[in-house]
């Protein structure tokens, strides 16, 4: 298990930092009241990540960083301090700290930092490599049926919108809640986005379709859908709904017909407009841990349109789907 050492002389601060650790992150948390305790704990191997305060009695944060460097102790250090002078910032970085967070610490900023430095990811890779794996044969089947569904969807789109659709290669994976963030991270870096999610159920199968459109696409989407009015917020919602209706609908129809079943779709839910991905996903983060994700990134030839369709299916549904698809596995 990954270990986190929180070093602060204030009990309140220690508690607050511990509370900010992501809920779905399985870690052993250790505490130290000052630098000397922290160094002792590090030597016992309690602290792959050290969350370090600067101003402390006995041995302060700067001295801890110096000691770590001098003794070559293996740990990743993030400094959490109320000292917001740029000089403090510079000094701790020079002493080998990975990053600097201002007090009072906020869970959202903290989690972003963990994702940015791939700290939560490393832990998952180390602890449960088997979770990320999916039987290659099964993955192949899902990829294939999605490809076929996509082909149909692309044809439908091309006919109704008069555009050429660059068909994406579906990305099929078993993922965890925190991994979805990373999967969508590169979209966030570029742009703000708007999202729609829509639940679907079939006999023994339930899942959600997540449709995410980058805000820079709206003008071109309006052109394609022959909308001449000004693209304000209300109009953007319309466009988002229209694009989601068509893409989610055609893709689900294609999958359903191959599985020889029928999906009922719930009403779409607006996840938010002009938000960043992390905010969109945070809302439902704790409800699920692991799902099958089929990720499709679309582009349209000649247009600046980027959208992602992610079909998430619960782990339980996979059994039903595998049974339905077992004929594809037979020789």
């Amino acid at each position: 298990m990954y270990s986190v050492l929180i070093c602060d002389d204030s009990l309140v601060a220690r508690k607050q930092v511990a509370k900010c650790l992501p809920e779905d992150w399985e870690v052993a948390v250790h505490f130290a009241k000052h630098g000397e305790e922290a160094i002792a704990a590090l030597k016992e191997g309690k602290g792959q990540l050290l969350l370090l305060d600067l101003n402390m009695p006995v041995m302060d944060g700067y001295q801890v960083l110096e000691t770590i460097q001098a003794q070559g102790l293996k740990t990743t250090v993030i400094v959490i301090s109320g000292d917001i002078q740029p000089e403090a910032h510079e000094r701790v970085k020079r002493l080998g700290a990975l990053d600097f967070i201002e007090k009072p610490i906020k869970p959202a900023t903290f989690e972003k930092l963990l994702v940015k430095h791939r700290i939560t990811q490393n832990q998952q890779e180390q602890d449960k490599p088997e979770l990320a794996s999916l039987d290659p044969e099964i993955r192949d089947i899902y990829q294939e049926i999605t490809n076929i569904a996509m082909g149909q969807a692309g044809d439908h789109l091309a006919r109704i919108l008069n555009v050429f659709v660059k068909l994406p290669i579906p990305n099929v994976n078993l993922i965890e809640a925190s991994e979805l963030h990373m999967m969508l991270q590169d979209i966030e870096d570029k742009d703000t986005v708007s999202g729609i999610c829509q639940g679907f159920v079939g006999p023994g199968i339930c899942g959600e379709a997540l449709f995410i459109l980058s805000d820079s696409s709206f003008n071109d989407v309006a052109k394609i859908l022959n909308i001449s009015e000004e693209v304000d917020d209300q109009m953007q919602l319309e466009l988002l709904m229209d694009a989601a209706n068509i893409l989610i609908g055609t893709c689900l129809n294609g999958l359903a017909s191959q599985l020889d079943m029928h999906f009922s779709q719930g009403h779409p839910e607006v996840l938010g407009q002009h938000r960043n991905i992390t905010e969109l996903i945070n809302i439902n983060k704790t409800r699920w841990r692991r799902t099958l994700a089929i990720e499709l990134s679309y582009g349209l030839e000649g247009y600046q349109v980027h959208c992602d369709l992610v079909l998430l299916v619960t782990e339980e549904s996979m059994e039903t789907m595998n049974n339905k698809l077992s004929h594809l596995l037979e020789d």
């Binding site: 007090k103 009072p104 109704i160 319309e238 129809n253």
Partner: protein, 172 residues
Amino acid sequence: MTDEALNDLTEFHWMMDMLQTVDVGLVVLNREFEINLWNGFMESHSGLLPSQVRGKSLFALFPEVNEAWFRNKARPVFELKNRAFIIWEQRPFLLRFPNYRPITGTEDYMYQNITLSPLVSTTGKVENICMMIYDVTDVAVGKKVLESTQVILSELNEKVAEKTVPANRVND
């Protein structure tokens, strides 16, 4: 009448009863957007009898519906056999129906979520679509109240934060 025919008729009768009493608006429209079916929900909320609307154009009966917009929504349903969804955040209502609870309700009109669903004929073509209208007034009112509460809360939070931050810095 044979027993079998009588059974069929009974079955048809209770199926119709179900369509009539379900608390969801059901309207069947053909490619010209003429009304083929108008259930009890639609009748009660619009005050129009099925006999008054059958065969008439939706747009003629309800001028508040933007024709070009609605045709556009229905196009993928006819052509792709896709379902289309219209949610209240997008348009609060399609047809101006009064609130179900005129006395204790806070809104004048019924907020509606709408699903347009293809009806495939025996030849495999979509000649008709079914429009389902759900009353989501309670959901909409709830969400609006929640949002305004969140705004108030974050304003209060900011005020509290302004007062406490300097105190924290002294401790560090």
